[in-house]
């Protein structure tokens, strides 16, 4: 679904991505993991064409990013950032349905899809007329998800979607996201620096360091068989990840809801 072929990207003197090749499998959730500045967010930004690679190709569903109109590509991708990126001058309904209305969807179709999404992200209809400022952090991220999902994209890119939330909310939203991914069966690429979150949400974990892939595999593999000193250190620094292996969240069936 999403393929990076020897992608290199520099920001001035900084080598953000160093000839990375990576395949994010269809229908699965890939979690990009690593410390700040390892290049994980840049991978997502490349996929939606917000930045261009210096070398290499990015392919979405077989098509090369940048070869055709970015607008068309972007409409097939849902993209959510840490701060949510909701437009402050629009209420919840306005934010979520902006693109659909611009594309001329009829009223009934927009209403139906909006209703589905409210239910999917577990938001009450009464938030519809609230402005982003009047929402809690968790609600904002749920609305952000709704907006990303409005056109039912094949690919969902989430850049630290839970990064700005406090632990309680974060835990709850992790749970709901897990359930949501299971229901949607879409290709999801998730960026996080939290190995526990990557473990809960991801089918495949990719550990990045300074623009290179350090290790790739399941949570078990990463925890039990770290292939480098860095991987061992990264895992060790995040206590509690191991407990996840037996946690109830992990046991949630993929076809839930």
């Amino acid at each position: 679904m999403l393929r990076y072929e020897a992608v290199t990207k520099r920001f001035g003197p900084v080598l953000a991505l160093d000839a990375i090749t990576l395949e994010c499998a269809s229908g699965r959730t890939t979690a990009l993991l690593g410390p700040s500045g390892c290049g994980k967010s840049t991978l997502l930004r490349l996929a939606v064409g917000l930045v261009r690679p210096d070398a290499g190709l990015i392919k979405v569903d077989g098509g090369t990013v940048g070869a055709a109109s970015l607008e068309g590509l972007r409409r097939r991708i849902g993209y959510v950032i840490q701060e949510g990126g909701l437009f402050p001058h629009l209420d919840v309904h306005g934010n979520v349905t902006l693109l659909a209305r611009h594309l001329g969807w009829d009223r009934a179709r927009i209403g139906a899809r909006y209703g589905e999404l409210l239910e999917l992200v577990k938001l009450p209809a009464l938030v519809s007329r609230r402005l982003p400022d009047e929402l809690s952090g968790g609600q904002r991220q749920r609305v952000s998800l709704m907006r990303a999902l409005m056109l039912d994209p094949e690919l969902l890119l989430l850049d630290e979607p839970l990064g700005a939330l406090d632990p309680m909310i974060r835990h709850e939203l992790q749970h709901d996201l897990k359930e949501l991914f299971a229901r949607l069966r879409r290709t999801v690429v998730l960026v996080t620096h939290d190995i526990a979150e990557a473990g809960v949400l991801g089918d495949e974990l990719v550990l990045l360091r300074a623009g290179r892939i350090e290790q790739q595999g399941s949570l078990e593999e990463l925890l039990d068989r770290p292939t480098s000193a860095f991987a061992r250190e990264f895992v060790a620094s995040q206590r509690g990840a191991r407990e996840l292996l037996d946690a109830p969240l992990r046991a949630l069936p993929r076809t839930g809801g």
Binding site: R45, V48, L50, L70, E71, G72, L73, R74, R75, I77, Y79, I81, E83, G85, L86, F87, P88, H89, L90, D91, H93, G94, T97, L98, L99, A100, R101, H102, W105, D106, R107, A108, I110, G111, A112, Y114, G115, L118, E119, P124, A125, S128, R129, L131, D133, R147, L151
Partner: protein, 538 residues
């Protein structure tokens, strides 16, 4: 099920509400433009008659009124664009056909307007004691030069308004001084001269040479203070104009210019050669009809007697030609105020609308292309630093006088705040928001319209508001080049030293500025309070 039903009720409206802000601004511009055009049309409706101009001082305005009334008496429709500005403004306007006739002085024509005649200048300057005026020329030479410019002297009015020297009658008698040459006999006399007189070639420097007045004390003095200084014995001699009211009241003795130093400043009517014959004929009827004393008396009645120029002129024309006294149409206060307001609004609305229509796109372009932004903002900044009076005068050769040049100058002034507000507003949009809008898959235009402009709306509106307030303040200067508005009574008030007249223009101008400020504050609250902005339109 509830959210479903609700969504349907909210549904897709025909017009995305995000376009609200944009539509509003565009609407505002269109309404302003319409208003401006309508007002301009009204203001310009009366331009087909003969246009009489006058300079911004009392004597010129009185003469303009006399000419207008004389033409009307002959059945020729005429309008008086009074107190337009200085000699250069009137002369250029006459050449451009914006004005058909105005009162001028031969000296000014020779010295300032026509430039030096080629051969004569050198020999003139070489002759000691000769007229210092480098531009002085013979009548036929002057007429020929004017003819080339399409202009003619229609009439010499019969008086001169030139520099003279004056003393208190008592002092003059005591010292036995009647002529300027007598002054050389009395060394140590104290002269108090206006600064302009001290500096002009046809003023003191030439006079000193011509009469050998090297032994005297000269000091600069404001013209208004000269009479008091004479009375207090601080000075013995001062400069004044030959038609100053003080002369008529016999409070000063004028010294005879026995060596003919001062250039000829005969009052004339300068008219376009292509004006209809009956206009030339009507103007010719004024030839030689106003002597120095008559003119000085009319000045006195306006400056000291507080009559209007129109009244004084009407009485003069009445006495000259007889017949029923044609009273100047009574211009009542609210009527005049209404007219000024219409003119002022026309200027402001038209120029502001144009500035919005041009400035907004320029601001958008400036936000997108930094290199272009420097160019655009730099250019607009340079325009902003041109003093408004200078900018207005620059416009005359391009657009003539009246509404168009004033509106164009105001348009230029309004441009910078709007461009800057727009580009700053767009550049200040936080990157996550800009990127979210891009990543959503909206087209460039849709992104601009639905997300970026609404987010920049506060800054854009602030720019428009600043432009509007500057605009109203500067628009009062439009009166200098005949665009009317609140500047008209202000300028007249300054000229006549009449505070109530100044206030008649200044107070409504200030109120209008406040009203505009309040209007925009209201718009801002309505439009930018996110709750009304986003939710009210269902």
């Amino acid at each position: 099920m509830r959210p479903f039903a609700r969504s349907r009720a909210r549904g897709a409206e025909v017009l995305p509400r995000r376009a609200g802000a944009l539509m509003f601004v565009a609407g505002l511009a269109v309404v302003l433009a319409a208003l401006g055009t309508a007002c301009a049309y009204r203001a310009a409706a009366a331009t087909s008659p003969v246009v009489v101009g006058s300079k911004a001082f009392t004597e010129s305005v009185i003469l303009g009124e006399i000419v207008t009334r004389t033409l009307e008496r002959e059945g020729i429709p005429a309008v008086h664009r009074r107190a337009l500005g200085g000699s250069r403004v009137l002369f250029d306007a006459l050449r451009a056909g914006e004005v058909d006739v105005y009162p001028e002085y031969t000296g000014t024509l020779d010295e300032e307007l026509l430039g030096s005649p080629p051969a004569q200048a050198a020999s003139d300057a070489a002759r000691p004691g000769a007229r210092s005026g480098a531009g002085a020329r013979t009548g036929p030479a002057r007429a020929a030069e004017l003819h080339r410019l399409g202009l003619t002297i229609a009439a010499r009015l019969g008086f001169e308004d030139r520099y003279v020297l004056g003393m208190l009658p008592g002092t003059a008698r005591r010292l036995g001084i009647r002529r300027i040459s007598d002054l050389a006999r009395v060394p140590g006399l104290r002269f108090g001269f206006s600064n302009e007189f001290i500096n002009r070639a046809d003023g003191w420097p030439g006079l000193e040479r011509a009469y050998g007045l090297h032994e005297q004390n000269v000091q600069g003095l404001d013209h208004e203070l000269a009479y008091r200084a004479l009375e207090q014995g601080d000075i013995e001699v001062t400069d004044l104009y030959s038609t100053d009211p003080e002369i008529v009241r016999d409070r000063l003795t004028v010294l005879e210019d026995d060596r003919g130093f001062f250039p000829d400043y005969s009052a004339i009517l300068l008219v376009r050669t292509d004006a209809p014959t009956q206009v030339h004929q009507a103007l010719a009827r004024l030839a030689g009809r106003i002597d120095t004393r008559t003119m000085a008396r009319m000045n006195e009645r306006v400056l000291i007697g507080h009559l209007s120029e129109s009244q004084v002129a009407a009485q003069f024309v009445e006495q000259l030609f007889g017949g029923p006294l044609q009273q100047p149409s009574p211009r009542t206060w609210p009527h005049e105020l209404g007219e000024y307001t219409v003119e002022q609004l026309a200027l402001t609305c038209a120029s502001l609308a144009a500035a919005i229509l041009i400035g907004l796109p320029l601001g958008i372009v400036a936000a997108r292309r930094p290199a272009l932004a420097r160019l655009v903002l730099g250019a607009a900044g340079v325009v902003q630093t041109i003093p408004s009076l200078a900018l207005l005068v620059f416009m005359i050769p391009l657009l003539g006088i009246g509404f168009a040049p004033a509106a164009f100058a105001l348009f230029l002034y309004s441009l910078l705040p709007i461009i800057r507000g727009t580009s700053a507003g767009l550049l200040d949009i936080p990157r996550p928001l800009a990127e979210s809008a891009a990543a959503l898959g909206l087209s460039d235009w849709a992104r601009l319209r639905l997300v970026e402009l609404p987010l920049a709306a506060r800054s854009i509106l602030a720019g428009i508001k600043t432009a509007a307030v500057i605009n109203i303040g500067t628009a009062t200067l439009g009166a200098l080049i005949g665009a009317g508005g609140y500047g008209q009574p202000i300028l007249t008030g300054i000229r006549l030293n009449d505070v109530s007249l100044i206030l008649e223009g200044a107070v409504p101008a200030a109120l209008l500025a406040l009203a505009v400020q309040a209007l925009f504050d209201g718009i801002e609250r309505l439009l930018l309070n996110p709750s009304t902005f986003s939710r009210s339109k269902r």
